[in-house]
Amino acid sequence: MPINSPRYRWSELDGEQRAELNQQIVDLTEAFLDDITHLQAGQSFAETTLVDYLPRQFLPYYNLAFAKRFLLAFLTVTWKLTDPEAVHNCANQGRGAGAVRADPGHARRAAGQRRRPGGF
């Protein structure tokens, strides 16, 4: 599945679309990183933000190791989305890209709950 194309690049998005995508990149990265810290501390996967972006029927299989790999896939996708030097193929990071496009309101609310003092 291609990300970017010679015709449709990051720059094809208008300002509002780019702002929304930017917001999601930051919010979801922060939320998924927080999830990993919380999972490491013993929180259940069902309480994570991540679970809202994954098929529920596989919940018993999700664990900390999966969350780490998913985060790396997500970071890879966000890099590919905005990489000006190449047209990328999305290997198995489709779900990560889906998370970026998913309900923006939810992502913002989820990240907002964990906002650090003085942060955004």
Binding site: R9, R18, A19, L72, L75, A86
Partner: protein, 203 residues
């Protein structure tokens, strides 16, 4: 700064060499992620990060969660660039540090699988105006203080050197946060080159 040149890059490595590089990338990224995952147990400190970045300039920033997260994103971007068959640009000093970690991790296996001349050529291909791998290494030696004076200020480690080659979007978008300012998700909050570089590439 680039990874490789027009005539030599990591894509010229043997399958064993490329595998070693990919595995080194995975190992280093895993260590960084572990550092982040255990931050509560480590009382907010990042011991792994503190051990691999020059202590002289890192100073009290080992407890900086945002820096650790931005370094992870830089590692991911460098890993992607390393796997690209074409020469790619390292965007920032942080990416050069990330590359150095991956390179050092892979070097013992690369030394066994690749001709010395090829390794040296790729290593020399990592160039920048003010710093390269050799000079970076001096920051970990006995005269670190002397060489650190030449280094970019810590606040600029994650900034793109050249607007045509942006840093990872998470790194770019959190620049204002890292400087203690307000967050801005408009294009102004992103590396200026990110919005325009696509146009240039299309031209």
């Amino acid at each position: 700064m680039t990874i490789g040149t027009g005539s030599v890059s990591t894509a010229d490595f043997s399958l064993v060499g490329r595998t070693a590089l990919a595995e080194a990338c995975s190992i280093v990224t895993h260590r960084c992620l572990e550092d982040l995952a255990h931050v509560s147990a480590h009382m907010g400190e990042h011991p792994w990060l503190a051990s691999v970045l020059p202590s002289l300039v890192l100073g009290a920033n080992t407890a900086d969660e945002l820096m650790a997260r931005r370094f992870l994103a830089s590692l991911v971007a460098v890993g992607q660039k390393l796997m690209d068959p074409l020469p790619r640009h390292l965007a920032s000093l942080a990416e050069l540090f990330a590359f150095r970690l991956i390179w050092r991790e892979a070097l013992p296996r690369l030394a066994a699988s690749e001709p010395e001349a090829r390794l040296a050529a790729v290593s020399r291909g990592i160039t920048a105006e003010r710093v390269d791998l050799d000079r970076l290494q001096l920051l970990f030696g006995p005269d670190a203080e002397r060489w650190a004076a030449d280094l970019l200020p810590f606040e600029e480690w994650f900034e793109a050197d050249d607007e045509r080659y942006p840093v990872h979007p998470y790194v770019a978008l959190t620049e204002y946060l890292a400087r203690g300012g307000a967050f801005d998700v408009d294009d102004g909050g992103l590396d200026p080159g990110l919005a325009d570089a696509g146009d240039e590439a299309d031209a």
